[in-house]
């Protein structure tokens, strides 16, 4: 028999892997439809103003051009905003491509060319001349922060600041040790390596099958049905393979709208692929300005926490994320004041990017904690240990589990933290200054509503289906593992059918909730199959399982048996034969446990330790070592889990050292809209990274004990790098990314 405990939790290689290493896995742009047309978008070259005229004559003359759409001839789409709101929509007015003459941001689509070949469409788009009445754009958050406002409509209740507790201002004034500073973070761009694309197959009777780059096939389907008034039964959206997304593909993008619009208008199949540049004008991590003030007593116990955060949103929508609330719950403190506001700028609406809010807010908080440790004169790890809290003070709720002490302990041990000399600039390696820094990370463990179907055939084959997405996270594999565990079969006996909108209902893949949600649904459906099987077994004459309850049986080696005595049981094939069935199929629905949520809050936690080496003369920073110790409940697959954390750590290093959307504020235009000038970490930037999963049991966070791993890996990393740079150089740099010029120009504090 297979050792059950070895299926789930073990480092099974991803089951979609062979298709990916051979080039056989097909992504949204890689589907071919006979007679299909190609679309290309022309982008605005101003950030604010109006379109006076669009001259498409030269473009129309180009051979192969079929039609050019602008706001003047765009086919009708839904009138009411509510029809344009997708599952992740924000308060405000959703963006409508080619709606009118208004330009709201640089790079906004202003025309759409459809042609017989991709080259003709692209060339024609370049021949379109747009005359604008440009207005002066405001794109600088620091300059505009005085115009900030509290969002009048909350995107989600939990993004609103908790009510203040105690008297933070008075406690701050009275405390013996305090720090207060502003932290400025630039906008960041997700840059998944796959370009956004949609291939639309136009079929008879108005049926559409759409391959879309999305984190939620049902979200894309519902959006196009809402906007174009289509029958949801006639539209299928597929996303079998998604080339990374990190939040950028949560909301439907203009490529989907334009591809479907042209397909319906011309009754032809369509393909639209964005350019890399175009992807810089879509949801992005908003630039933000934060003020964090912390105060402590002589022993380092926190006396006051004040965190004020302001981030960018667009003119037309109020994007919101939870930036600052973490400061009220990460550590024990009775005097807390958190405030959160938005600034409207002439930029595209920001969107969720890996650990939205936490990546930015915790970067500020954890840098401030490091500053406080210096101020009090204690070790930064010890400061955090002293302020540990096992309660969510923001919501006044118990916490389901928090193995953060183990993260501190095991992380510090693996890193060798005890050998750290506390004084900045006191550690060296030849010409290099060496710095050791650390930070904590936190992310909400979420579970949403989801459904899944599981089918067990008489020959032992299992099929799992749900409209879930695998954006590189390993969804295929973990769902297969969970089913294999219940049916005691090898993972090759399981077919995982996901990535299609006409499968059991699943929310978008984001916020690290897929494993907990769809995973729990698969487990529940698989158990329902076992229960049904038991019912059939008990209708057999002289059934050895006649008296057994569903809790007492399990499947072992193709038989339904008593858990306590595997000798007693019946072969699955015999049960199905007796019942005249060739398969048993059940569907299950799961959701968060509302009762438990009233009393408990669930979070994943981490401790990140970083070593940097900095060339003293050149200011070049190398992150030579990272240890990330994570407490995230049960680990379903050690391989895909580690991968999630490594990817998060590397994106965190990018946030600390490289990534910055550069805007020319005179024109409001993004200057570095390509991968040559928007720097993401490359191979040679990355050195040793070690991931530790500490033991954590938590049945409250989700029925399968999982807390999710997509986000926690990045949280705290930027602060840990920044703190290590301070330790190496004595320079505290509070605006990310920490580039060479900032290191060379700033003064050491001592």
């Amino acid at each position: 028999m297979l050792d059950r405990s070895k299926i789930v939790g073990s480092p099974v290689s991803r089951i979609d892997g062979p298709l990916k290493v051979t080039g056989a896995a097909k992504y949204a742009a890689e589907h071919f439809e006979p007679g299909m047309l190609f679309g290309h978008v022309a982008l605005a070259t101003i950030a604010a103003g109006r379109i006076l005229a669009i001259d498409t004559r030269a473009a129309e003359r180009l051979q192969g051009v079929v039609k050019i759409y602008t706001h003047e001839n765009r086919p009708k789409a839904a009138y009411r905003d509510s029809k344009w709101k997708d599952a992740v929509a924000l308060p405000g007015h959703p963006f409508r491509p080619l709606e009118n003459d208004r330009v709201l941001f640089d790079g906004q689509p202003v025309a759409f060319v459809v042609a017989e070949t991709p080259e003709a469409a692209r060339d024609a788009a370049g021949l379109i001349h747009v005359h604008y009445a440009a207005e002066t754009p405001n794109t600088h958050i620091v300059a505009e922060q005085h115009n900030s406002y509290e969002p009048p409509v909350a995107r989600m209740k939990q993004f609103l600041p908790p009510p203040p507790r105690g008297d933070a201002e008075a406690a701050f004034a009275a405390a013996p040790h305090k720090v207060s500073a502003d932290y400025v973070l630039p906008g960041e761009h997700h840059n998944p390596m796959e370009l956004f694309a949609a291939t639309v197959r136009f079929e008879d009777e108005g049926r559409l099958t759409i391959q879309d780059k999305t984190q939620g096939s049902q979200n894309s389907r519902d959006y196009v049905c809402g906007v174009f008034g289509l029958d949801p039964d006639k539209v299928i959206v597929k996303n079998d393979f998604v080339g990374g997304a990190f939040g950028q593909a949560l909301r439907p993008k203009h490529h989907l709208f334009l591809a479907v619009m042209a397909s319906l208008d011309l009754s032809r199949s369509m393909k639209v692929e964005m350019t890399r540049r175009e992807m810089f004008y879509l949801s992005w991590r908003p630039s933000c300005v934060q003020t964090v003030s912390l105060a402590a007593d002589d022993e380092g116990y926190l006396q006051a926490v004040l965190h004020h955060a302001v981030h960018t949103t667009s003119r037309h929508e109020d994007y919101q994320e939870n930036v600052a609330n973490w400061s009220g719950l990460a550590y024990k403190c009775d005097n807390v004041k958190i405030s959160y506001e938005l600034v409207k700028l002439d930029l595209a609406t920001p969107g969720d990017m890996r650990a939205p809010g936490a990546a930015s807010g915790v970067a500020a908080l954890e840098t401030a904690m490091d500053e406080l440790a210096c101020e009090v004169g204690i070790d930064p790890l010890e400061l955090r240990v002293r302020n540990f809290v096992h309660r969510d003070q923001n919501q006044d709720k118990a916490i389901t589990s928090k193995a953060l002490h183990a993260c501190y302990r095991e992380g510090a041990e693996r890193f060798g933290w005890v050998a750290r000399s506390p004084t900045p600039r006191s550690m060296r390696d030849g010409n290099d200054l060496v710095g050791w820094g650390m930070a904590g990370g936190i992310w909400e463990a979420m579970m949403s509503k989801g459904e899944a179907k599981v089918r067990l055939s008489a020959d032992g084959h299992v099929t799992v289906s749900a409209a879930a997405s695998d954006i590189g996270t390993g969804t295929y594999t973990i769902l297969g593992q969970l089913a294999a565990e219940v049916f005691d079969c090898p993972i090759d006996a399981v077919t995982v059918d996901i990535g299609r909108s006409n499968l059991p209902k699943t929310g978008v893949e984001g916020g690290s909730w897929t494993a907990a949600t769809t995973g729990s649904a698969v487990q529940a459906a698989a158990k329902a199959v076992v229960k049904t099987l038991l019912g059939h077994a008990q209708s057999m004459e002289n059934s050895p399982l006649a008296e057994a309850s569903e809790e007492q049986v399990e499947i072992s080696e193709g038989r339904l048996v008593l858990e306590a005595n595997h000798q007693v049981g019946t072969a699955i094939a015999d049960i199905m034969a007796a019942a005249g069935l060739d398969a048993v199929e059940e569907q299950a629905k799961v959701g968060p446990d509302i009762l438990s949520m009233r009393r408990y809050a669930a979070y994943s936690h981490s401790a990140v330790f970083v070593e940097v080496k900095i060339d003293e003369e050149l200011g070049v920073v190398r992150v030579t070592r990272v240890v990330s110790a994570v407490a995230a409940g049960r680990i379903l697959n050690a391989k895909t889990a580690r991968s999630q954390i490594l990817g998060g750590v590397v994106m965190g290093i990018g946030m600390a050292l490289h990534e910055e959307g550069l805007i020319d504020h005179r024109t409001g235009r993004i200057m570095n809209h390509n991968l040559a000038e928007y720097h993401v970490p490359a191979h040679a930037d990355i050195h040793d990274i070690d991931v530790i999963f500490v033991e954590e049991q938590d049945q409250r966070a989700s029925p399968i004990g999982v807390k999710g791993l997509g986000e926690i890996g990045i949280v705290g990393v930027a602060a840990a790098v920044s703190n290590a740079i301070f330790h190496a150089t004595g320079k505290r740099i509070r605006n990310l990314p920490i580039t060479i010029d900032k290191i060379l120009e700033s003064e050491a504090v001592q």
Partner: protein, 158 residues
């Protein structure tokens, strides 16, 4: 269609195609020949997803014109496995979880194949620099280094 007639060898097989003078080799491979294993991440030579080996040189196919392939040999990821038998690099990428979303993977495999052809026993540093032209946003790179090291030792043994 009027166009330039090009004859090449792709993954060992003779291949002929017609293309426009302004079409990149990446577009030809993907759109005309259906070799979708050659990925596109930027079209401007910045990401390495479109890596192929042209004669004996690793190139970004988005920076080469289709017409330039005349008389040359092209190797893409589709030619790496022999039937069902994966190339050691493919096998090791799977084992070391050196891929997640997989969109960068074919480019990495081809770049690594080229690296190992020229340097069968690279150091970690040589691998990191050798593959620095390929971007990956998911894996964090480390596992790719391990996979290449491991594949290199298998290939040396073979």
């Amino acid at each position: 269609m009027a166009g330039i007639a090009v004859s090449t060898t792709i993954n060992g097989d003779q291949a002929e195609f017609l293309c426009h003078p302004d079409e990149t080799l990446l577009e030809v491979l993907r759109e005309r020949l259906g070799l979708m294993g050659v990925k596109e991440g930027c079209g401007t030579g910045d990401c390495g997803a479109c890596s192929i080996i042209l004669d004996d040189r690793l190139v970004c196919s988005c920076l080469v014109l289709g017409a330039e392939a005349e008389g040359r040999r092209i190797a893409t990821v589709e030619g790496m496995a022999q039937g069902d038998k994966l190339h050691p690099l493919q096998q090791k990428f799977l084992e070391h979880a050196a891929l997640q979303c997989g969109i960068c993977t074919p480019g990495f495999l081809i770049a690594a194949k080229d690296l190992l052809a020229k340097n069968p026993d690279p150091t970690e540093e040589e691998i990191r620099f050798g593959l620095a032209g390929n971007l990956c946003r998911c894996t964090g790179y480390d596992k790719i280094v391990r996979a290449v090291q491991d594949a290199a030792s298998v290939m040396r043994g073979a």
